[in-house]
Each structure stands twice: as C-alpha cells, then as structure tokens.
Amino acid sequence: MEEMSLSGLDNSKLEAIAQEIYADLVEDSCLGFCFEVHRAVKCGYFFLDDTDPESMKDFEIVDQPGLDIFGQVFNQWKSKECVCPNCSRSIAASRFAPHLEKCLGMGRNSSRIANRRIANSNNMNKSESDQEDNDDINDNDWSYGSEKKAKKRKSDKLWYLPFQNPNSPRRSKSLKHKNGELSNSDPFKYNNSTGISYETLGPEELRSLLTTQCGVISEHTKKMCTRSLRCPQHTDEQRRAVRIYFLGSSAVLPEVESSLDNDSFDMTDSQALISRLQWDGSSDLSPSDSGSSKTSENQGWGLGTNSSESRKTKKKKSHLSLVGTASSLGSNKKKKPKPPAPPTPSIYDDIN
C-alpha cells in the first residue's frame, strides 16, 4: 500500500476516491450483518426472530370509534371487584374509595357510629354487646367466625375515633410528635374493640397484649377482650386465669395505673399506633424538606407557599385541613356540582 497525497487531485478524482471508500464501508457493514445471520443459523438461534403472525394480531392497537385500543366497548367494567385490604371483603371497584373511607373510619358518619358503639359498649347488661352494632359500623361484617382470620389488619382503633370521648387515647401527648418514624411493628390485628382472635397472634404479641389489655376470652366469640386491664366486663380472676393459661403458672396480672380508663391504651402502644398515621421523618433533602421557599406568593413552586392551593408535603405544617380548601377537583363523570363539604372532624383538629 502506498501513501498518496490528496492535494493536486482534481474534483472528479477525489469524488471517485470518496465513492470507493463509501462503497467499502457499505460492503463491510453488510458483511458484518451476514456474519450475524450466519452465526445465528449455525448456532441454532436464528428461529428466535420468527414471530407468529396470528398471535401478533392479538396486540394490535385498534383505532375505531366506540372502541378502546383493545377493541373493547367502553363502560363495560361495572362488575370489576377488588378485595379490601382492611376488612378483606370483596368490594365493587368503582365503590372502593367510599368503602375504604368508611372502613378506615374516616367518613362523615364514622364518628356518629363510633359514638354509638361506645355508648353501647358501656352498657353492662349484656356481655359482648358491641357485637350488635357490628352491622352499623363501617358496613363491615365483623363476625368472622373461624374461616376468615383477620390477616394484616392495618386499621384498628386508629381509624375509628370516639371524638367526643374525653379519654380518647388520641389526645395523648404523643400526637404532638409529628415526626414519628413509620412503625416497624406488624399491623395490628385488632378487630375493633370487640376482641381479637388470639390464634392470629404470635407469642410476643400475645404477651404484649396481656400486659396492656384485659385479654379474657369470650365464650361467645372465642376472642380476647381488648379493653383495659380494669375493664368492668371481666373480673381479675378471669384475667389471671387467661394469663396463666397462655403464659404459665408464674404469670401475673400487670399493675394498673388508676388513672387509666376504658379503652385507653398504654402510652407506648398508642404511640406506635399513632405514628402509623404520620409521615416518616426523613432527613433527606428533597423539595418537601426545603425550608427556604418562603418568599412572595408569586413564587410558583409545586411546594406551594400558599396553603390553599397545594397542600404542603412538609410534615411540620398542619396539613390536614380537609375538603374546605380543596383546590381543583376531579372525579368520575358525575357532573353534578359538588359544593365543598364541611370539614370532617379529624383527630388533628385537637392539635392546631
């Protein structure tokens, strides 16, 4: 191969050389492709490129009026269902949100229902009287019997709140700590305060329950009573007996503070419960942590310096004003104008 100077060559010569180089490059590329195919055939994987034309059609996008891209007619999904993670019932998908709200005790009627339950549970004449109210509460069927073990019950007394009860554990000071870490403990398996199926509890949970709650097993429901250690429905004898049964003959009835009342929790338990309501205290710097977004209201950030429009993600602010200040609202196609509902009482009302 000789070296050649390109200067002094006229345009047509240069053109010819360029063409030659171009042709070589194209040929090289084609050769590479041929090798790929050859190797695929020789090594036996060439067939992978084949596709089945019939099944290819299964996924082709449809573009016709009245049909979606899958060729389906609109509005045929009324019968879709899902299983509520809270109560394990099967719920129509399009009604899941309203159901979940009630199921978690957040709805507008929940406080009324909850109060009724409290009133009934204070009734001493019947044992397990709250069973009667079950149908009212949260539309849920609490009488599981043996088939449906309460699995991961994320909700419990957390969501159903006896707002007017002055002894509500929600008013404990732990509420002021808004930066609690998300609780590590298993979701509590409480089946509201009618009792808990002790078969679902592990040994540690059982032990923990017995240090803070009554624990007497109802003959009726076979469940353990989750009221306080001084619950009037059961005697100390019964309580001692159940502890001996589960923890052995050395088990003792825990000391009880006289200030505790019905349905009140041990501080640590309530703290754990309440922390589940709150956000992680994350120290990572991210927009929600930013502290300097406080300038003029014209500063248009997603963080939103105006409280009304976008509710802050900052954990320190009171972020629980409910519907009243809701901004743009979207829903399904029910177009009836919906005036902003009055704020539902919330546990955080107490704080601010």
Binding site: D49, N86, F96, E309, H319
Partner: protein, 530 residues
C-alpha cells in the same frame, strides 16, 4: 445438541437441523500451551486495534501476500504469518498447499475452516476474541472519551434456546402494539390519581428503572412500601392485559402514607403528584442509584435523580447591588396564568418572537411566556424590604428566579385554580405549549444574555443539553368544585393516547396540543453521565 426446527416454514431455505457450531479441526488447533497467546496476538495486531499506532501498522502490514490488496475480505492464517484475500481465493490456496486449515477474518474476527468450508464458532476461541475486542475498545475510549460502552446483544443459553423452541407463539413488540397501555378503573372520584399513574408509568427513565427491577426494598414491611407497589403497577400496566387494572392497593397505601389525601372526595392531581413523589422518595431507601450515598444531605434515589431540579433565587439589594443567592430543590414549576387576580403580567403575551416553536398567534399565551414571566426580575416593593448583609440595613430589592439545575423530567403546573379572598374559580384560558422545549433561556447561566435583550435561542447550535420533549399532559374539565381529569400520554416515540380512566383511545398530536393543559410533563432529550 438440540436441533432447532423451523416453525411454520420460513422463507429462508436453511437447514435448521444443524450440528455443533465448531469442528474437529479447531480442536486440533487448540493443543499445546501457546495457541491462546498466539491467537491473542493475532487479534490485537491484525483484527481489533485499540490505538492509532496499531491501526496504522495494521493498515501497512495487512495486505494480501499474493495480490497486494487490503480489501477483498483479508484473512490471516492461524498457523503462520500469511495474509490472503478471500474473494480471490488466495487464502484458500495457501491453506491447501500448507495444510493450514484455519484462518481468521480480519474484519470481524471469525474463524474459517477450509476443511469444513465454513465459518466455525468455538466457545474458547470466541471467549478470547470477546476479551480482546473489549480491550481494544477500552483503549479507544481512553484516547477518545465519548465513545460509549459497547453493549453486546443478548446471547441465549442452551436451556433457554430449548425452552424458546417449545414456544413458537413469539411476538415482537412493534409500534402498533398495545403493550404498555392499560386502563385504570376509577375507584370513586379517583381520576386524579389515575392520570398521575399514567404519566408516571410512561416516564421513560422511570419505566426503565422499574421494568429492569432495580428497586430493592428496605422497608420493614414491604407490603406497605409504595415503591414496591409502583413496581407492581408497572408490571400490571406493561403486561399486555386489555382489562383495566384496579389500583385499589395504591389508593390504600397513599391514604396511609399521605394522610392529608385520605378520604373519598375529588382532589387535585398536582397535589397528588407531589405527595406521591414524596412518599416514593421516602420509601426509596434501599436503592443505590449511581453515586454513593456518602453525602447524607443529598438523596440519590431514583425519584430525586429524575424529578429534582435546582431553583435558584437571586435577591439583589437595590442599594449596594449585592446579590444573595439560594438554590432550592424543586420537583415542579407552578406557573401563574394571565387573568389571575394575584398575578401581574408585564409582558404582553405573544409579542416576542416565537421562541420554542409554539403556535404563535397574537393574544395566545404560550408556555414560554409563562416561563419568561416566572424567571423575570421582580421588584419587591417597599413593603417587602430585605435585610442586606453588606449594607446591614433593610433595603428594597429585586428578586429573580431561574433554573440552576435542570431535572431529567420537568413538570409544569398551570395554576388554574384560584383561591383568592375575592373569588374561587378556574382559569380556563388556553395556554399553548410545544412538543419540544428548550430551557436554556430560563437557566441561571442565561441571565446575562437576557439582560442584554438577547433572548434568542441558539437555533441549531447542536447544544441539546437543555432540550426537552413532551410526553404526558394531564387535563381537567369542569369547574373548581367538580370536574374530571384525563391525560394524554406518549408511547412508542410518536404515538399519543388518551387515557380516560378505564378507556384508552388513540389520539393525535393535534388533540394533545389543542388541549387546555394543566400538568405538562417533559423529558430531557439527552441524558448525561454523572
């Protein structure tokens, strides 16, 4: 070896019942101690050259010993130093006379066996070849950074091949496929959530993260992890299942982790987006994405990598002209609209030249107009004096916002919902937004040129660093109290689809650009390495 049979008879007349890819002659070659090293030398000098020097020497020395050409598919004999071209059969002659059965192609490194009269593929030799090729590429990268890593194609293993052979109903995803699209059931006023889910699951870089299974959950209870649920959502939406998905688990988790959003009522999609990003960010503890998490103040989770930009605020003291700068992280930019009673629009919309190729009709406000207004120097009045550090007194000042660091995904939020003391209403003014957006004029670095009145964009400067492409639009129809959200998402590069809860239909680009726009999602066109 398992014989692969041709499904349904291909058009290629090839015998698929092949034998082993290698041959006995190669096996004879692979004896002794030196063959590996000798082979490596051949690859290094004559096939894959890493440095300009070796390239030059290859060009000089590799010519056919018979006819002198350096083209015509030159081969090198494996047993001696001989180069011969294939086309003129000069290498074949050499093979016959010298009984040297093997030669290597100098273009692609394949081994040709003259006895079998075919190229052969031997595992050991290919392994060496791959290594040498990799080494050469590395050397090239040293001298010319910017040549990216070469990604090899997927190689099937034998058991995989067999398995695939049993499943002839293979489908290659084409741009006319529905895979990646799926409706979402409205759970009761949850259209705001559905739209955000559609936007997030069609964010290319986020999609790549989740579909390659990069999330490592470190939450104490994975069933409460929103990132895990997100991962599951991606799987559902990309499953090809035509029946709409029911995102009830997502709703439940959001209600648990973002308490202020819990409740059966209509809500704001923008608010949901921010809350969702926040929870995802907090739950991303386990994922190490790139840079080591050695800096505790800087989160490197996928959410921050994608969505976090840096908003720079410069406050200039009017007395001493000292500038105080702060940079805050932000996930989106909320823009005031003309006609809002809280906003002030000094620039008459549409007057300046069409910067981003938006439909330039006088009187129509564009996204660029909004951004220009957002980044304008603003004189803070005498009621809002700032304490100046150098003057040591309260002075009037101007404030200006610009982008210091651009996020990979930029989300723009039009503040259509007015909650002033006077009124609560929705501003339905149409804002024109472009398919492609250049953020250069709104960067902190562009402030100088803007002050000098040069807002002109470098038209085709080749600088694509700040260029974005629209990929999702969330729209709201209705009033402030009651309405419905739908979204447009981009799929397969240039196709758009309208997502109306459970119903997905094809849409045109015109449909998208003519829509009112509430949330706009733009994706950077070029991603840089850290």
């Amino acid at each position: 070896a398992a014989a692969a049979t041709s499904p349904g008879g291909g058009c290629l007349d090839v015998d698929f019942a092949v034998g082993p890819p290698s041959c006995s002659h190669v096996n004879s070659f692979k004896v002794g101690e030196n063959w590996r090293q000798e082979l490596r030398l051949i690859y290094q000098c004559f096939v894959w050259c890493g440095t300009p020097e070796t390239r030059k020497s290859k060009a000089k020395s590799c010519i056919c010993h018979v006819c002198g050409t350096h083209l015509n598919r030159l081969h090198s004999c494996l047993s001696c130093v001989f180069f011969g071209c294939f086309t003129e059969k000069h290498i074949h002659e050499h093979a016959e006379t010298k009984q040297h059965n093997l030669a290597v192609d100098l273009y692609y490194g394949g081994i040709y066996c003259f006895m079998c009269k075919d190229y052969v593929y031997d595992k050991d030799i290919e392994k060496i070849a791959k290594e040498e090729q990799g080494e050469a590429l590395k050397l090239q990268q040293c001298s010319k950074p910017g040549i990216g890593e070469k990604y090899p194609t997927w190689e099937t293993t034998k058991p995989e091949l067999e398995l695939l052979g049993h499943n002839p109903r293979r489908r290659r995803i084409t741009s006319s496929f529905t895979i990646g699209l799926r409706g979402l059931i409205n759970l009761g006023n949850t259209c705001f959530m559905n739209c955000i889910v559609q936007a997030l699951t069609h964010t290319p870089i986020l999609r790549d993260f989740f579909l390659s299974d990069r999330h490592r959950c470190e939450m104490p209870s994975p069933e409460l992890c929103l990132v895990c649920e997100m991962s599951s959502l991606f799987r559902e939406l990309y499953s090809g299942n035509p029946s709409p998905h029911v995102p009830y688990k997502l709703l439940h988790l959001v209600w648990i982790h973002a308490r202020h959003l819990a409740g059966y009522r209509q809500q704001d999609a923008h608010e949901f987006l921010i809350a969702a990003l926040d929870v995802l960010h907090r739950h991303c503890k386990g994922d190490d994405v790139g840079k080591a998490a050695s800096n505790p103040n800087h989160c490197n989770c996928i959410i921050d990598q994608i969505f976090t930009g840096g908003l720079q605020s410069d406050v200039t003291c009017q007395a001493c002209h000292g500038v105080s700068t702060t940079i805050d992280p932000c996930w989106d930019i909320s823009l005031d609209l003309p006609g809002s009673c809280t906003s002030f629009w000094p620039v008459s919309p549409g007057r300046e030249s069409s910067v981003n190729g938006e439909s330039h009709i006088p009187g129509i406000t564009t996204l660029t107009d909004c951004l220009r207004r957002f980044t304008r120097p603003e004189h803070l009045g005498s009621n809002a004096k700032i304490k100046c550090g150098s003057c040591q007194s309260y002075q009037e000042s101007t404030k200006q916002l610009t982008m210091n660091k651009l996020p990979v995904v930029a989300c723009f939020h039009f503040k259509r919902f007015e909650h002033s003391a006077k009124q609560r209403r929705k501003i339905t003014t149409y804002i024109s937004f472009p398919l492609e957006l250049d953020m250069t004029p709104f960067m902190a670095s562009s402030k100088e040129s803007r002050m000098n009145g040069q807002l002109q964009l470098p038209t085709s400067s080749g600088n694509n660093e700040n260029k974005y492409s629209l990929f999702a639009v969330v729209n709201h129809q209705g009033t402030l109290e009651s309405g419905h959200y739908t979204s447009f998402i981009r799929h397969h590069k240039d196709q758009w689809f309208k997502c109306d809860d459970a119903v997905i239909t094809k849409a045109s680009i015109k449909d998208v650009l003519d829509s009112e726009g509430y949330l706009l999602f733009y994706h950077k066109q070029v991603l840089e390495h850290e």
